[in-house]
């Protein structure tokens, strides 16, 4: 964690931007000369225009079904990810702490988790639709399930690796089961928990798009598939970038919380 001078920082920024800028220019130029697969792929400027209409609306009477619906669809996806992810945390973290701490809990619960984990969340899709119908909870179920695995597995690992002397010290000072889990095992496992949270969040975004493409009639995933069907590749690409942006921003948010919660850890690595 070395601090960079503003000069170094600027140089890094320029280097990082070289590839995207070259790529965008090439894309735009090729598009202008109709060299992009028979005009199937729109140019960056066309994508930006479509995105703008999707966000702000076309103005006047428009037959564009996507006109001005960006925010509401984004909100739907965000809400589902939020709910499913929260459910995964509420179930995954305490269960992980318990499995990591108690041998009996580990022997009872861990094998089941390991047997279920290889079933990809995409394979759960028909089951989820059959069970919950074309409703919100179908999507939330998939998101929660997908995010649950990395959260519980990483929390378990963290709880298992807690320094034995810290546990001894806590018990010596009179900490019983509950206090030990809450005040020692959980905080000691927190770095691993956050690893699980970040992986889980990525899976949550994957799950929401898949679920919305198939099982729900709204959200970024739904628009993605719908736009593809009616040949609106400009909207498809704008949608892809929107999803990526949301994934990136939500990950930054977790990192921000992590840095706050783990100040002690950051100082240690100096």
């Amino acid at each position: 964690m070395t601090k960079l001078s503003s000069g170094q920082r600027g140089k890094r920024m320029v280097l990082a931007l070289v590839l995207p800028v070259v790529f965008l220019i090439a894309w735009e130029v090729l598009g202008r000369f109709n060299l992009l697969v028979d005009g199937l792929i729109p140019t960056p400027t066309a994508v930006l225009q479509a995105w703008w209409v999707w966000i702000a609306g076309a103005g006047g009477l428009s037959l564009n079904p996507y006109s001005g619906t960006w925010a509401i669809n984004l909100w739907y996806s965000l809400e589902r990810v939020g709910q499913g992810y929260l459910l995964a945390i509420v179930l995954g973290v305490p269960l992980g702490v318990l499995i990591g701490w108690s041998r009996i809990a580990a022997q009872m619960v861990d094998p089941s988790i390991q047997w279920l984990r290889p079933i990809p969340i995409t394979a759960w899709l028909p089951f989820s639709i059959a069970l919950f119908g074309i409703k919100d909870f179908g999507a939330i179920f998939l998101i929660a399930l997908g995010a649950f695995y990395p959260i519980v597995v990483n929390t378990t690992q963290g709880a298992r690796d807690v320094d034995k002397n810290l546990v001894r010290a806590a018990r010596m000072m009179g900490a019983g089961g509950g206090a030990l889990l809450r005040r020692v095992i959980l905080p000691a496992a927190l770095p691993s928990v956050f690893t699980g949270l970040r992986i889980g969040l990525g899976i949550a975004w994957t799950a929401v798009i898949v679920a919305e493409m198939v099982a729900v009639k709204s959200g970024l995933g739904y628009v993605l598939w719908d736009a593809y069907y009616v040949g609106r590749m400009d909207v498809v690409i704008a949608d892809m970038i929107s999803i990526g942006l949301m994934g990136y921003l939500s990950d930054r948010l977790i990192v921000l919380i992590e840095n706050r919660a783990l100040t002690w850890r950051r100082l240690q690595s100096y």
Binding site: L166, A169, R171, M172, M173, A188, L262
Partner: protein
């Protein structure tokens, strides 16, 4: 010094497995109330194991082990432990580490806060309550390790090579501090060390242990007058004792 703080009779500790390891064999030990006892011996002699049995971290294989008349079954605040690497909670600051014991025991804050402040002052850390362990030196961390157990006002203090990881200079400072603390509080202390100087400087009685299997080889009372200071280390009588103990240790 009338009542016994610690009564150990015929205690064995065997670690089972394909090749069972006898860590301790036939340990008999009585430590009086208020006594400062040092367990001295080479690594592998089982001195830390004996301390872990007293702390209740591990169970005896055979024999009786009582602390203030009660058999030890599990760890508890009546038998405070100071660990070699301090074992502070890295996510808690100095103050939170020091009040951890009373807090988890459900003691109301107004009953321990004064005591905690006094104790921090006693170990010289009153200006560091907001610091995280990682921001402290090894010696300061160990001061916190001592403060957090003194706050619980334990009858018995178990110290497992608490200054073993410190540099020579800091070790002397910490020994001085412990002498002062002990002079003021007169707790029963069991102090594990492999440093002969440290054992003589601090203890009323030195129990020399030998290895494989771990046994208590000799009991040596230290008749140096108290209060002691670091000057005791250069005392003629100190050197005589040291010579005798080194002789004893070579003999086993």
């Amino acid at each position: 010094m009338t009542t016994d703080a610690i009564q150990i009779a015929g205690v064995d500790k065997v670690y089972p497995g394909a090749n069972p390891v006898t860590a301790l064999q036939g340990i008999d030990l009585d430590i009086a109330d208020g006594e400062f006892a040092a367990l001295l011996g080479p690594s592998g002699c089982g001195k830390s194991t004996l301390l872990n049995l007293l702390a209740g971290f591990e169970a005896t294989t055979a024999g009786d082990l009582k602390v203030y008349g009660a058999p030890v079954t599990r760890p508890g605040p009546d038998r405070a432990v100071v660990f070699q690497e301090a074992a502070l909670f890295p996510w808690l600051n100095v103050w939170e580490n020091v009040v951890f014991g009373p807090k988890v025991q459900g003691v109301p804050a107004d009953q321990y806060e004064t005591k905690a402040r006094e104790t921090l002052k006693l170990v010289g850390l009153e200006n560091f309550s907001e610091h995280l362990p990682v921001q402290l030196s090894g010696g300061m961390r160990q001061r916190v390790g001592i403060a957090r157990v003194l706050v619980m006002e334990p009858k018995l203090l178990l110290m497992d090579e608490p200054f073993g990881a410190l540099d020579a200079q800091t070790r002397l400072t910490m020994q001085q501090l412990l002498l002062e603390v002990w002079q003021a509080l007169k707790k029963t202390v069991v102090f594990v060390t492999h440093d002969i100087d440290e054992a003589i400087l601090l203890a009323d009685t030195i129990y020399v242990m030998s290895a494989r299997p771990g046994r208590i080889a000799t009991r040596i009372p230290v008749d140096l007058p108290r209060p002691r200071t670091l000057d005791t280390l250069t005392d003629a009588h100190f050197n005589e004792m040291k010579k005798r103990i080194m002789h004893e240790m070579r003999g086993h």
